[in-house]
């Protein structure tokens, strides 16, 4: 079977074309074309050449990142330095030249490393043809048939040291995640206020480690708090098994890696 490829000048037109439900949106294509090559051919492939999808612009305390911005474009933007550690960890150079921020939000396990960082930072998504923005966490909970993402609005961490990212993989420099972790721990008067910890490769999509967040909230980032957060890291989480790691292994090591990340943030 061959697909019909439809190219639209604007995102709005592409979004309308998606409304009938039998189309699949093509961004960088690193996942979609892989599926097409493997014989999973959608009836319609829908794409747009809309330049606004490639824009990066400040909005108040946040940065608005067009869904079509590639990892390489993100890495070239100094305003987005706080996301560079995560973007650099997405695949090899070719994947980073092709893969987009929008596509990363929909990448299946064990992918979605940038989405992990965005989730930890409390990013919001702007949907095509909808006013306002909704929390990325909502989108990640149910990614099927959500409509098109126009942009991501990511709050800039007030203090660069309050945000940390760690990806653990078996193959260096390029490998898929055994686990990836984003931690945003803003501090007020030495106490953590608004702790957010996100895990990648610990579920179907990136998710928050709420038990670890609770263990850190209101605490100083010291050895005792770090140990408690590490101990409860996988609470309420049922990680998948795959060729990289079993569910049991991920549950056992996620807390260890969280502890290491928090320790490196404590050292500053």
């Amino acid at each position: 079977m061959t697909p019909a490829v439809e190219t639209y000048a604007t995102l709005a037109e592409a979004a309308r074309a998606m409304a009938s439900g039998d189309g699949v949106y093509l961004a960088g294509g690193t996942l979609l074309m892989r599926a097409v090559n493997a014989g999973e051919v959608p009836r319609r492939i829908i794409r747009t050449t809309d330049r606004t999808l490639r824009e990066i612009a400040p909005v108040g305390d946040a940065v608005r990142i067009g869904a079509g911005v590639t990892m390489v474009e993100l890495l070239q933007n100094r305003e987005l330095a706080f996301l560079h550690a995560a973007a650099r960890q997405v695949g090899g150079p070719q994947i980073r030249a092709m893969g987009t921020v929008g596509g990363n939000l929909f990448a299946p396990h064990p992918y979605g490393d940038l989405a992990v960082a965005l989730l930890a930072l409390g990013a919001r998504v702007v949907m095509a043809g909808q006013a306002g923005a909704r929390p990325l966490a909502d989108l990640l909970r149910d990614r099927a048939r959500t409509g098109l993402v126009a942009a991501i609005e990511c709050p800039r961490p007030r203090d660069a040291r309050s945000f940390g990212f760690l990806k653990v993989s078996r193959v260096h420099p390029r490998g898929a995640s055994v686990v990836s972790i984003g931690a945003h721990l803003p501090r007020e008067g030495g106490r953590i206020r608004g702790a957010r910890i996100a895990f990648g490769a610990m579920g179907a999509a990136p998710l928050q480690a709420s038990a670890a967040e609770r263990a850190l909230e209101g605490q100083a980032l010291d050895a005792a708090a770090i140990a408690r957060a590490g101990a409860v890291a996988a609470q309420g989480i049922d990680p998948p098994s795959d060729s990289l790691a079993s569910s049991w292994y991920r549950r056992e090591v996620s807390g260890v890696h969280l502890r290491r990340l928090l320790e490196s943030m404590e050292r500053g």
Binding site: A4, A38, P93
Partner: protein
Amino acid sequence: MAKKPVTFTLNGTERAAFADPGQNLLDLLRRGVGDLTPKYGCAQGGCGACTVLIDGAPHLSCLVLGETVEGRAVETAAGLSGAALHPLQEAFMVHFAAQCGYCTPGMLMAAKALLDQTPKPTREEVEEAISGNLCRCTGYEPIIAAILSVANGSVRA
């Protein structure tokens, strides 16, 4: 389903081809245009043998929808050598950086993308640049040495 005409430059020369719906760029280059230098390894993004440059940046041609290169500049290993070998090709030869050679066209294009941007890369930058390219023969060391020798201007040293 109708084929789509695509016009792009291939190694500096204007080319036109008809892309099948859903056809990837690797297939379009090999079958539509007859450039057999990009290799078909996995068609899954995993091996890098199909690496080409699009507007100067390394891409996996197996994961690029063929018709999307309309108006863009595509470079493959076929365009590297003129009358003489490209310094990277020469270095790969001197350093025995190709055994079976299947990964070589992709490695060369990944290396070219690096050196075009970063003429004096560190060893780590070279490792990173070819991290999306698998080689089952050489163990990578000769490839890294070859790329570094071009950067140092010591291919034949």
